[in-house]
Symmetry: C2
Subunit: 172 residues, 2 copies
């Protein structure tokens, strides 16, 4: 197949006003689709994906304030790996990137890069619409930085710090 | 990171009635999220993802009957790679796996494996609901075999022949 690409490296070129070409090279590590489940069902869904698709849990994010003896579960999101791909399962009630579509097939893509500002800027120049400012402490892992975009086709993209960085100190 | 997994290999264990454990090993190569756009906008969306996120087009599927001079576009779906991950952009009007949610964030996962029957069987034992029989000629590439499932959380999964196999003879 003549489709070999350099994993993890992508370059974007955008034209700025006046006709000058400004080249911004943004490196993305991965696109991770995020699916939403009801508040108490992250652990149950992860168990299901293990049994159904042989998923492996590779990251989990616990709520910073909840304790194990409280009614609400400690686990708010988990990343599972199926084959070479990752999917994030997230508690819809705790996730600010959840769309109005709610649980199930309401999709958000997490696009991981170190350079969130440049990534958002390039996408907006290409026609995406930024949704608010870049924030901290939201998204798949508490503590990461996240920019949010809507593309011209209705898909929501969050531009996020890579999981390995922001989740480095999270209990596995 | 202590999360290294063997890419492309997943094992699923399911318990059958009577308490016997039946081990079915299904190997998945990748999970590819599929997003839906209006009929005439696949090419436009691919161009956008190239500009916005540095995507590379790695596969395209042309309609088997349309010609370049017809009103409807020849291109019905394309796979783009962003970082190490693939996303499939599909014409909603030509794709039987499109959900009732329509364009934008209506998500379907394409889960690629050589062993579609075993994958569907394992997932159904784990609690997924099969949607119809395994069919041919639908999905991302015409000619591939596809099983369709809905999981307990409302997410639609299509179990598909890997792209490299079924798209091997498609014009790039």
């Amino acid at each position: 197949m003549a489709t070999e690409v350099n994993d993890g490296v992508a370059a974007a070129v955008s034209e700025v006003n006046g006709g000058d070409v400004e080249k911004t090279v943004v490196t993305f590590t991965a696109v991770k689709p995020k699916v939403f489940v009801e508040a108490s069902k992250v652990a149950e869904a992860v168990a299901f994906y293990k049994g159904a698709f042989g998923a492996e849990e590779v990251n989990r994010v616990n709520h910073p304030k909840r304790k194990a003896d409280q009614e609400l579960p400690v686990l708010v999101s988990a990343e599972v790996k199926i084959g070479s791909s990752s999917v994030i399962v997230s508690d819809v009630s705790e996730d600010s990137s959840a769309t109005e579509k709610g649980v199930g097939s309401g999709l958000v893509f997490c696009l991981e890069t170190e350079d969130i500002e440049a990534a958002v800027e390039t996408a907006v120049k290409a026609g995406a619409v930024a949704d608010g400012e870049i924030t901290e402490g939201e998204g798949a892992c508490y503590g990461g930085r996240v920019g949010k975009l809507k593309d011209p086709y209705g898909v929501v993209w969050t531009i996020c710090t890579p999981t390995e960085k922001k989740c480095g100190d999270v209990e596995a």
